[in-house]
Amino acid sequence: MTKLVHDGTPEGIHAAVTGWLELNWTTEAERGANASDEGMRAWLTKVRDAGLATPSWPEEWFGLGISARKAGIIEKAFRARKAHGWGRDRFHLGAISVFKMGSEELKREVLPDLLAGPICCLLYSEPNAGSDLAGVRTRAEQDGDEFVVNGQKVWTSNAVEADYGMLLARTNWDVPKHKGLTFFLFPMRQDGVEIRPINQITGESEFNEVFITDARVPARYAIGEVSEGWKSFQTAIAYERLIMAQGGTERRGRQNEPTTPLLIDLARRKNRIDDTSLRQKIAQAIAYRQLNSLNNKRAKAEIAENGASSLMSLGKLAMSRIQHGDARVAAEVLGPEALLSGTPNPDAANASFDAAKAYMNSIGGGTDQIQRNIISERILGLPKDDAVDRDLPFKDVKTG
């Protein structure tokens, strides 16, 4: 429990954290953290206790009470040393949600643990609640000071690794859909939680189905009030978007502008680079990617200047055209080779994989159609569709 000592100036913080790392992130500590769960937990506990996991949080809550900008100095120092454990105030959705919306009691109970290891998965989507997340039908019924949970969740990544799930469940069926939901920190390691991998059309299994049968969650693990979970959930996904945007732009940047666009490389290797009409298609595919990358760049500049940019909302939809288009051009470059698959045919296997994977963008995380709704309503200000289910008691909402 020895907090980092610093003088509050950027220089002072930099010196303090560098010194702290020098002292603590020893070869031995590094080896320990990378070797085992216990080693990692020991290290993360040390980082937490020094206030370095969540420096922007108040001192009484594991933080140093410094500004986000100053917290960035700490992140940078950790990154430079390739040390683990920083930035849980920015990147650990479970910890953030509990910290921002949990009760005092819950925070005292779980935050120390959450900041020292456990990861959280997202128990949002259900087979019948995809685009319509507020339509979840997983049932949580109070039984003393616990809730008994029954239902099925899908498209959960890291379900196997997770200690907790951020669970959206229905606690009241007699009110309109947004008003009967509760948002729980749900313990995953218990009987009644069965995890099955989903086989994707790409051949991957990044996601799981989670079957929940008479599983239990303490009532005090509700994040926010019972049956007011939609508000907590909205706050949580706003943080999630922020996390994805911060993590995402860097990755996207690299992906968008390789030194030689992959399609040119492929066409050269397949001796198709001189085909005039194929060249047009390759050029257009590269162009769409570059235009999107330039739009992202402009969005960042606008955010830096005004704190917001409507352009941010266009990227995901644009990416669908890019990815489906790229995959189609790649297949055309390959010609009949695209009929093949398997390790002896890596180019064909990649082209097929990319063609299937493009649906991950155009369907997952809000379909293209949902994105177009969002763009036309939030950016262009076009009127919303009437929601037929908005004011109905949920039990009366039609489900087909």
């Binding site: 995809g130 339509g135 059309i201 009949p336 695209a338 009929l339 064909a348 159609q369």
Partner: protein, 367 residues
């Protein structure tokens, strides 16, 4: 012209449909194509017993004597369940070629073996792409009355499961077609992206071959056109099936308290797709009718059907995944089977670009 009456054709179709429903449903596709030969030999035997393998064999050779329209009707049904089999290579393409040649003994033996379900044929242009619109890479030479073949035929449909291979080769008197025993050639099995097709590269090194007598390029083209009509019908049937399944899903899947098919964005996608679906069905039928009746525009309509059906299938099956949403992103769902098969259809006999070019030429020639 067919020897079948409309009623007889309908009875044949009903019989075939029943067989597929009982023995080759879409649900069984994954397990069937996971086997090395990628088709169900017992279903094949049943096809033989029901006489369906002799659909295109003339009555004088004890066949049904069906024509392109009969074939079209059967293939539309096969397409609906992506029926995996060497039917098109064996019972259509090979039959048409053998019937047109003058090698009486070979013809008689092969046709009766085909009808009995005992011999599987692959047929190849011998090109490096598998396309029938690219040139053959094989050469044939004759010494003391026997022909031998040299070269490689790539992306040959059904080659890994074939007993006999019919293949084009260049001779001093132009393009001719030869019959080779598959065991004499070197067949390399190709791993395919669409599990329902069977492909191989076939190398010939001085392989003994029997030439098909009196089979000129026009005869080969006619057999190809019949096969293309069959494949177009197969694609049209598949397009129709995945579209129907999608529309059904739009009606039964609810989000926000209403069927997703009540959302205009999805309704309008479906309306546009319907044009594709109906056009595919129409053109495969029209091409079949023109071919069966020896109409002067038959070649034009076959080219049109070849690329229109391939492209419609590609676009409709791709949209079907999007319209289904997440559930179609799983291997368990059927949508990707159609999508993969449509993807394969882009190259199997020739590309859409090649058929479009050929189609334009028929207009130019007619003018």
């Amino acid at each position: 012209m067919s020897t079948l009456s409309n009623e007889e054709r309908q009875a044949l179709c009903d019989m075939f449909e029943r067989l597929l429903r009982d023995r080759a449903s879409l649900e069984s596709l994954r397990s069937v194509v996971a086997q090395p030969e990628k088709y169900d030999r017992s279903v094949w035997k049943e096809l033989a017993e029901l006489g369906l393998l002799s659909l295109m064999i003339n009555e004088e050779s004890d066949g049904i004597g069906g024509d392109a329209q009969d074939l079209q009707a059967i293939m539309e049904i096969a397409g609906r369940v992506l029926f995996p089999s060497p039917f098109l290579s064996t019972a259509v393409f090979a039959v048409e070629l053998l019937q047109a040649c003058k090698n009486d003994q070979l013809k008689q033996e092969c046709l009766s073996d085909i009808a009995a379900g005992e011999t599987i044929f692959a047929v190849s242009k011998g090109s490096s792409t598998g396309s029938w619109l690219d040139e053959t890479k094989l050469s044939a030479s004759k010494s003391s009355d026997t022909w031998s073949l040299n070269g490689v035929a790539s992306y040959v449909v059904d080659a890994p499961r074939a007993d006999e291979i019919l293949v084009c080769a260049n001779t001093s008197s132009g393009l001719r077609m030869f019959c080779v025993s598959a065991s004499d050639a070197d067949v390399q099995i190709l791993e395919t992206d669409d599990p329902s097709i069977c492909l191989g590269n076939v190398s010939f090194e001085g392989v003994h071959a029997e030439i098909l007598d009196d089979l000129d390029e026009a005869a080969i083209a006619h057999a190809l056109n019949t096969t293309l009509v069959g494949f177009a019908a197969h694609q049209a049937g598949a397009t129709h099936a995945i579209f129907e399944q999608t529309v059904e899903y739009l009606k039964t899947r609810y989000q926000f308290g209403r069927p997703i098919g009540s959302y205009q964005a999805l309704k309008h996608m479906a309306a546009d797709l319907l044009i594709e679906v109906e056009s595919a069905i129409t053109v495969s039928r029209e091409a079949a009718a023109a071919l069966a009746n020896g109409k002067p525009n038959a070649a034009q309509l076959v080219s049109l059907a070849a690329f229109a059906c391939a492209d419609s299938f590609r676009d409709v099956s791709a949209a079907a995944i999007q319209l289904h949403g997440g559930i179609a992103y799983t291997m368990e769902h059927d949508a990707h089977l159609f999508w993969r098969h449509a993807r394969a259809g882009q190259w199997l006999f020739g590309t859409s670009d090649q058929f479009r070019e050929q189609y334009l030429q028929t207009w130019e020639d007619a003018a």
